[in-house]
Symmetry: C2
Subunit: 657 residues, 2 copies
């Protein structure tokens, strides 16, 4: 068997060659961490390249995602079907699964999309939570694996690592092990340009175990990884490395971080490493050794399959990991039962009611809140806390860590077996936004429960009142944003969220009570928009509204109809769903010959998609104020008294043209 250094040099060669061919990419990290990664992947990581979806595999997250050639090399060398060497030759080219940063939806074996720094480690925390939770449900026979991370200085400077590490320490996630590529270099130069902290002391303050090693000495890496694996706490393994190791004239400098080395330096590195083969060629003995080491996990996998086949939990476990919902009809029946008697409640309370139906039927639902449990109404009576002493609990007190919560939820969803949901105030979606984006990009079934969705939250004032948030979230591709107007639409929003297998859903819910406006039978809300009230008189106006403003729209309609102005009310809880309806449906709701008016207590920009240049948009294009909610709705003109005259004027102006 070749030495670790020789095996590692295959990673170095592939990395510098692929970056050179693309003339774009990051050779420094893979070259610096090649030895440590080789020890990890050949001696510690439990995986089976023949089945990247093996549920009990260890999870590996390359949090320093710019070093993507590291994972592409590892997957290729250990025998995964993809990437092929041709995929690697086409690194960073259109259509190659070897994208600039690792994308979970392009390559099996890539557990998470990384690149936005710090989020990999935070998703790994979620994976480690999922592992312990499923272990509590299914036992050591079926669930008994580790989560490994490679993180860089950037990951450890980003604020989210604080939230993630604090949560991991609190929950005692001993199966989480983070290798820190401690190369003392960032893009701008030496790390001491911008940081002076003692990272290990900081992690110990979170309750982590820390250990240090020479990341370029395989024996020392082995010692450190063994110590980490044995320790019951989460571990930070500080690996002192040299960025770009092997490139004789550039190693140890920021020049190797994010650019091709250049053909001369690549040639010099070949000489320095004793790597005599042409670009993209791995000699037979080294390739064979890698394959053999990649095959180490096959027997463990086979034994695991045996245990699964014999397990009484087999069907339940497979259903959970496949992400299939149990009890589809029963959910609908119980929702109908729950909604039979109309109630005037806040939609956050309506969401709690829906969860009261769902959580007993769906054990995969694991909830939580960023320290706003009583405000977000996210905990149901049958959920006990998930703690270090009881990982079987189904409610997580995330603490004041919105971003960490969102990333952890992504990690749980990526791990499989869990449908996570979590709450905060809608305005603090901003704190979690980079992870919400990654939910959407990674196609994760995650449900965001965002309450206090407008100036309707009242006295807390402009820092807590969402204005731009609804539409700024609607802008994120593959995210469905729901703003239900009552209990029925809230139940539909939850159904829609669970039905989605390929993306996240965000529920924007009211603090204040809202009347129940229709019955559940037609389930019209699932189309994203529908005619809630049809015009009585000849239709001249269509009112579009969401959430708490649907009630306002109904009052406006009554007044207009009283003046003989026929008016539809269209409730529009989910733009993305409406946009996906066929043209005839959309045209029927938005007729060309009517004045289309939007009413939403938020920014107007974006509503013109439906109201056009001649429509009227009633909204709020400024920050809010601190006052009781009712005063604010009056102050900012969200009342029939204020809106009706504006519509009448708009109709007159339209008539003039």
């Amino acid at each position: 068997m070749p030495e670790i250094r020789t095996l590692a040099n295959a990673i170095r060669a592939l990395s510098m060659d692929a970056v050179q061919a693309a003339n774009s990419g990051h050779p420094g990290m893979p070259m610096g961490m090649a030895d440590a990664a080789t020890v990890l992947w050949t001696e510690f990581l439990k995986h089976d390249p023949a089945d990247p979806a093996w549920p009990d595999r260890d999870r590996f997250v390359l949090s320093a995602g710019h070093g993507s050639m590291l994972i592409y090399s590892l997957l290729h060398l250990t025998g995964y079907e993809r990437p092929t060497i041709d995929d690697i030759r086409r690194f960073r080219q259109l259509g190659s699964p070897c994208a600039g940063h690792p994308e979970n939806f392009l390559l099996p074996g890539v557990e998470a999309t990384t690149g936005p720094l710090g989020q990999g480690i935070a998703m790994a925390v979620g994976m480690a939570i999922a592992e312990r939770h499923l272990n509590a449900a299914f036992g050591d026979e079926l669930v008994d694996h580790r989560t490994w991370v490679i993180a860089g200085d950037g990951c450890l400077m980003e604020g989210i690592n604080h939230e993630a590490a604090g949560l991991a320490g609190h929950l005692g996630l001993g199966r989480l092990n983070v290798l820190w590529d401690d190369n003392r270099i960032t893009i701008d130069g030496a790390t001491d340009l911008s940081t002076s902290e003692d990272v290990e002391a900081r992690y110990r303050a979170y309750g982590w175990h820390t250990v240090r090693c020479d990341g370029l000495d395989a024996d020392d890496v082995r010692r450190a990884l063994a110590e980490a694996a044995a320790d019951p706490r989460p571990s930070l393994i500080a690996c002192r490395t040299i960025i770009g190791f092997g490139a004789p004239n550039k190693q140890g400098t920021a020049a190797t971080h994010g650019a091709a080395l250049g053909t001369d330096e690549v040639a010099a590195a070949r000489r320095a490493l004793g790597w005599d083969w042409p670009p993209f060629e791995i000699p037979g003995d080294i390739a064979a050794a890698w394959r053999e080491l990649g095959g180490r996990g096959a027997s463990a996998h086979s034994e695991w399959r045996g245990r699964l086949a014999a397990s009484p939990h087999k069907a339940a476990f497979e259903r959970r990991m496949a992400g299939d919902l149990a009890e589809g009809d029963e959910i609908r029946d119980r929702m109908a039962e729950m909604l039979a008697e109309p109630k005037k409640v806040a939609t956050r309370k309506a969401s709690e009611d829906a969860l009261g139906v769902l959580t007993p039927l769906l054990p995969e639902l694991v909830g939580g809140s960023a320290d706003l449990t009583g405000s977000n109404n996210t905990r149901t009576k049958d959920q006990t806390p998930l703690t270090r002493d009881d990982y079987g609990g189904r409610y997580i007190f995330y603490g004041i860590r919105e971003f960490g919560m969102a990333a952890a939820m992504n990690g749980m969803a990526l791990h499989g077996g869990i449908i996570p949901y979590g709450g905060t105030f809608l305005v603090f979606s901003d704190y979690a936004r980079p992870a919400i984006r990654l939910s959407a990009l990674q196609r994760c079934r995650v449900v965001y429960v965002m309450t206090h969705d407008s100036i309707g939250l009242g006295e807390d004032g402009p820092t807590h009142q969402p204005i731009e948030h609804l539409t700024s979230l609607r802008l994120i591709p593959n995210l469905e944003v729901w703003r239900p107007c009552d209990r029925v639409e809230t139940a539909e929003a939850w159904e829609a969220a669970l039905q989605r297998r390929d993306g996240p859903t965000l529920l924007a819910l009211s603090r204040q009570n809202l009347p129940q406006l229709r019955d559940y039978a037609g389930r019209d809300g699932l189309r994203g928009a529908y005619r809630l009230k049809a015009a009585g008189a000849a239709r001249r106006v269509v009112l579009l509204a969401t959430g708490s403003e649907v009630e306002v729209a109904i009052a406006v309609r009554e007044s207009l109809e009283g003046q003989g102005i026929g008016t539809d009310v269209v409730s529009m809880p989910c733009w993305e769903r409406f946009d996906a309806q066929d043209a005839a449906y959309r045209a029927d709701l938005l007729p060309a010959d009517a004045l289309i008016v939007s009413i939403e207590a938020g920014a107007t920009l974006g509503w013109e998609r439906y109201t056009g240049r001649s429509g009227l948009n009633i909204g709020l294009d400024r920050f809010g104020e601190s006052a009781p909610a009712e005063d604010l709705f009056k102050h900012f003109g969200f009342t029939a008294e204020a809106i009706v005259p504006r519509i009448v004027v708009a109709l007159e102006n339209q008539g003039d043209q």
Copy 2:
């Protein structure tokens, strides 16, 4: 002189009474921290209630902004003109300066808007940087003050505190002192529901000094504050307190955090505290003592005025602190000179060129980048680093801390004397977004230099390619978003950013080279949108484009004109500026009888404001891909070849109607 406890009880009484009157608010924090805050404000804080704008005052930031009644009480009791007792009676009511959370634009003495947790401490870091920087420029005679913060558990759990504390430790900001209200309670209950960390050990790992005291024992608080003030490092003062101290049945529980105590408990607290006066009444001797203590700083202020009057720096210092720009005409002349010879460069490079003109003329410009200096082109040749050994430097290596950078810039702008700008990739505006929102809400002159503004960044792929970001930023009230198309518009964007005194500006800049499309003479870009090319043939089409797509629009126009289809090209670098133009100007650019087409390599939602329901929006409503930029522009249809046929079809459909 009454005892500290007696003085502090005035804060407790005002806080519980105001919250009770509003039946909304957070009494727990002010009641717990009243003693510590009294010691701080009467014995340590340098301020003069008669002049809240005294430039050399200590800055006090209530990072735990929900405890707003603490600062309202302190301002009132120490003798600030506002809030009056009537303002406090109207706590959280429409029009009261005593908003739910402290707002810097409502009350002099409120140095920063707080409430979004963690940002107060991070802004304080910026204030402390500003103090040292101005000290380096103007000396101890004029600039010699401290920055004090009160933070809660939430502030210390949020990720941003990690970034802020790391930066403060690195820069050795010894005049920054943070009092941590260590009351072991969060909204959901005991802190041990969600955290187990050793906060003080963590802060020591950042290079901070830490000290602990009994926050309810004035002598012990005094000892700790004195120790903190004497230590050359930034200090964390852990104050063990009891939330809601004084409310006998509720203190020490989450019940006091965010709700009125109830009339019975308020009455019980009066008895427990020995506070026999009616709501909102402060007995004469206690009021007088507070006033007297509030007046302590007047003599220091007077001496400082003397030093200012005698200083050779007087005019420069006053200009800087007033935020007046020097050298207005010279800037324009030099810009014109710089732009005289057209060049094809990336707008990030154009921004560097503009900064090359500006930084020598405007010493108040302090730049930086979140570890992307060479990519953001934010450093000019005459900027040396601002370090712990040379606070006079004008370039800050912020490290990989986008959110911390943005909040620190807010702090610098709030401090005064500095116009901060800082860079990262546009996609990572998401990381900084909560602070960008606070720039806008607080009306701070901060300039965000966000480069790599589209799929034009190429190979790094979807995690690094902005899609929804431009319009999601345009949605934030009071933020001006610029996406210039060339060197001239980039210079105009910088001019506009500096002219704004009451809000932030964000520049979205290209990685790739763009041709210079016009000359600088008319400075048309300052109107936000203007006709760059007028139709030759009879106008049937108006193309709206920004940034790199203006060049594409020009090619589209040439092709359409070649087919006899008259086509305007409108360059639209700043929507907010265009929306502020008069109706005639806007109507002239967007005629009702033309097909309006938007071209922007980002989400289309929002463009309908200008293109209407019958217009055509060319954009990207999905995530990007990893490939060279030119391939992506072709792949996603941002070429004349792909766009022209779509316009021709749209014209035909329009003709059919």
